[in-house]
Amino acid sequence: MSNNKGFKKWMSENLGMMFILPWLIGFLIFKVYPFGSSLIYSFTDYHLFDGIREWGLMNYVEIFTKSRIIKAFKVTFTYAFMTVPLKLAFALFIAYILNFKIKGVNLFRVAYYIPSILGGSIAIAVLWKAIFKSDGIVNMILAIFGIKGLDWLSEPGYALFIICLLRVWQFGSAMVIFLAALKNVSQDLYEAASIDGATKWRQFFSITVPIITPVIFYNLVTQLCEAFQEFNGPYIITAGGPRNATTLISLLIYNNAFKSYEMGLASAQAWCLFILVCTLTVIAFISQKKWVYYSDEDGR
């Protein structure tokens, strides 16, 4: 009898635990274990078919000495610091305009959002290749103005930028998030400012941007994480070329792990990427004290 009571008490205290148990099991098997083992693999010379051959720091030595790997990190940095600001600036600017009392706002929103929702699909990568081909649409448009275009995807100086444009073109999801935030900015502020003679441009920098800094921050962190892991664009469109100009680190990791089966080296590279992303996220979180404005702190 008392046993039954004890069980009931235990159940009522741990009922919530029962509901999250599937997640917890999955978390341990599919996240914690791989995360830990990847750190261990990174200190081994591990070939998929031969198993672990040697222990040591050889992978990390290779990462910091091989110019190919160092270049991949540089390319990834260039890519992320080109893509993220452009994408966010675009998203915020368009969301700001859409937030004026625009007629047909839903139509515009859908038009801008479609590329984001389809953007990850292979179809869009195929399309991008067709657009930037040497006889593709972009060069035909340039020809109208008498400019002779290049074979964009085989020029080391431009190929990375073309992939960056593919992601900037998908600014829609960041825009929808900005738009939701802008809707919450009180119209009174704008009216007061416009009576004082502030232009829309001035209002944007003096009212809008400061108020929605938390959302800018959120978009910045998520977009940075995503940009540092970009894989599909370079894999499908350029295959990392020309001359490794678009070999981002995630593509290099894929090649090492699943083409040459160097699991140890790939793990070490993945960990370097992870530490890099972590550092940037931490920097972002520390820096937010300086520029992110949370309204509830000021008791607004």
């Binding site: 599937p22 292979i122 793990s267 990427l273």
Partner: protein
């Protein structure tokens, strides 16, 4: 300039920018649709999107197999063999997990929730290699039922959906649940009869996003599916692009378009749910 004229000028420029950007956003897609009906000679001969002599040869060729035991229709069936169970398992496991976190108190809850949140920032790239080795041991790689892609969704591994549902649940008042408890509902009955009906719009959002992402997923099948007869559409279209670009563009473009028709249909039927989901839960599309 008076305030009125300045307002008009601002509005004029706003529409001009919106329309210009709208054209840049949509024109490539329109061009793609048009080009799939053009002959291969016409595709790269002008920037217009209306075909001069429309042809279905792109679509007819798209349906042809490249040889081997796979064609576009079969690849699309494969895609949805992966996508539909993933969607179903994700909404069930994510709802149950979110319910546990949002409505119960238990030891270590806050720490566990912090761990759940931290996985939002854990790059998949770090997990790919060891997950591959693990799934290889389980015999899940190249499995006819795509176990490596589907099984993890049973365990709410896509934590951003848990986070999203948790956010929505916190906004729902508890009175109804308490009434249900007094009427003698146990926790599972409460979940099914009270929570799920109220959460329906958010569960729909989760289902829609998971549908889109899984349909578009490229890296998952690239790692875990190796037999050509089991390729989903994303891998199949990539292969045909490598095989055909340069000579049969209308075929490749037609294939690409056919492969995204289900996604387009779902998007247009449910665009409001997408916008609500993305703005309320901070999910990214």
């Amino acid at each position: 300039m008076t305030r009125e004229t300045r307002k008009h000028v601002t509005m004029f420029f706003s529409y001009a920018v919106l329309i210009l950007v709208g054209v840049i956003m949509v024109y490539p897609l329109l061009w793609m649709i048009g080009a799939s009906f053009k002959t291969n000679n016409e595709i790269f001969s002008g920037i217009g999107f209306i075909p001069k002599s429309p042809t279905f040869s792109g679509y007819q060729n798209a349906m042809k197999s490249y040889g081997g035991d796979i064609d576009l229709i079969k690849a699309m069936i494969n895609t949805y063999t992966i996508v539909l169970p993933k969607v179903l398992f994700t909404i069930v496991s994510a709802t149950v997990t979110a319910y546990g976190f949002a409505r119960f108190e238990f030891k270590g809850k806050n720490m566990l929730f912090a761990l759940l949140m931290s996985t939002l920032f854990l790059p998949q790239v770090v997990l790919n290699v060891p997950q591959y080795i693990l799934f290889n041991k389980f015999g899940w790689i190249n499995h006819p039922w795509y176990l490596a892609l589907i099984i993890p969704t049973l365990f709410a591994t896509e934590t951003r959906f848990v986070f999203m549902l948790n956010q929505f649940l916190r906004g729902i008042p508890r009175e109804l649940e308490e009434a249900a408890k007094i009427d003698g509902c146990n926790a599972i009955q409460t979940l099914w009869y009270v929570i799920v009906p109220m959460l329906k719009p958010s569960i729909t959002s989760v289902a829609l996003f998971q549908f889109m992402w899984s349909s578009n997923d490229f890296m998952g099948p690239l790692l875990y599916v190796s037999a050509p007869s089991r390729y989903p559409a994303s891998i199949f279209v990539k292969m045909s692009m490598d095989a055909d670009s340069g000579f049969e563009w209308n075929r490749v473009l037609a294939m690409s378009l056919i492969s995204i028709i289900p996604s387009l249909v779902v998007f247009f039927l449910a665009q409001d749910s997408f916008v609500e989901g993305i703005s309320a839960g901070g999910v990214k599309g």
